[in-house]
């Protein structure tokens, strides 16, 4: 095995710093209180409403509960349970993902014109 050359070391360090910077940027991105919640399964929006609105979304394999202004995946029949372990989310730039069942729970910041219209009606 040849030694790792000096040029390669420098290149590897640069790539690490770049990726680390990207990660830091990702970790430090703005997190304001979210307003709306969206549940998407296989690309189709299954549920979309204000976060304050308590609701239980039952999907095949997954259960999402929206309560006290936060969304949480309470049940999933997938093997890794990553989505359940993610816990409750209530801020923008946060997401719960269940890849095996293709479910994504997303929080968005905009309070949304739709809801205002519905209220006005």
């Amino acid at each position: 095995m040849p030694q790792i050359g000096k040029g390669e070391r420098v290149a590897l360090c640069i790539v690490f710093v770049l990726c680390g910077g990207l990660l830091a940027f990702w970790l430090l991105q703005g997190r304001e209180a979210g307003h709306r919640v969206e549940v998407v399964q296989r690309g189709t929006v299954v549920y979309e409403a204000l976060l304050e609105q308590d609701h239980m979304v039952e999907l095949e394999g997954n259960t999402v509960v929206i309560q006290n202004g936060a969304a949480i995946m309470t049940h999933a029949d997938c093997p890794d349970q990553i989505c359940v372990r993610t816990g409750a989310i209530s801020h923008t730039n946060r997401m719960i993902t269940c890849l095996p069942n293709q479910v994504v729970v997303k929080i968005t910041g905009e309070s949304g014109a739709n809801e205002i219209d519905t209220v006005a009606k």
């Binding site: 095995m1 040849p2 030694q3 790792i4 050359g5 390669e8 290149a11 590897l12 790539v15 690490f16 990726c19 680390g20 990207l22 990660l23 940027f25 990702w26 998407v40 296989r42 690309g43 189709t44 997938c78 093997p79 890794d80 990553i82 989505c83 372990r85 993610t86 816990g87 730039n93 997401m95 993902t97 269940c98 890849l99 095996p100 293709q102 994504v104 997303k106």
Partner: protein, 177 residues
């Protein structure tokens, strides 16, 4: 005798391939037993089984090495049992294998297996995420890219370090007559 030598070489390749594939299965199983409860990002994992893929890349010619990469995906599927997960992983594995092969060939082996494997880890993340976005039709998943890139680079490089330690011994086994 030339043909005898050739046959011995074939048998050795067959045995090494079989050993590496079963090693992938064991490493994949071992990784699942590790208590990594803190990780709540889909796709972030150690990827111990990739040790086998990178090793294959350095021991064999393209077809055999590519075969090992595909078999590794297959064994991961056996351990996890998730069909969709298999598709994500397969795309990641293929993209990362091709990328690593290209870097190895184009650099004429002047780049070490640590960097090759680091690149492989990043490409694995990209391929996996692209497959996940296409299959689930949820572009929002691209949000995970920064974490996946970094974790891919880190675990990939570590896999490369492991392979670097193993390779001299395996090369000796491959080349003994």
């Amino acid at each position: 005798m030339n043909t005898g030598k050739h046959r011995r070489h074939n048998i050795r390749t067959l045995v090494l391939t079989a050993l590496l594939t079963s090693l992938a299965l064991v490493l994949g199983y071992l990784e699942r037993m590790l208590p990594l409860e803190l990780i709540t990002i889909p796709g972030v994992k150690l990827g111990l089984a990739n040790i086998v893929v990178v090793t294959g890349l350095y021991l064999f010619h393209f077809p055999t090495a590519c075969g090992i990469a595909l078999l590794k995906s297959g064994t991961t599927f056996l351990v996890s049992g998730s069909a969709v997960g298999f598709l994500y992983g397969l795309t990641g594995t293929l993209l990362s294998f091709l990328g690593m092969w290209l870097l190895r060939v184009l650099s004429r082996d002047r780049v070490s297996c640590v960097s090759v494997s680091g690149l492989g880890g990043m490409l694995h993340a990209v391929g996996q995420l692209a497959a996940a976005i296409l299959i689930t039709r949820t572009p929002a998943l691209a949000w995970y890219l920064p974490v996946l890139l970094f974790s891919g680079l880190l675990t990939g490089s570590l896999v490369g370090v492991a392979v670097r330690g193993m390779l001299p011994y395996l090369l000796r086994i491959r080349d003994t007559h």
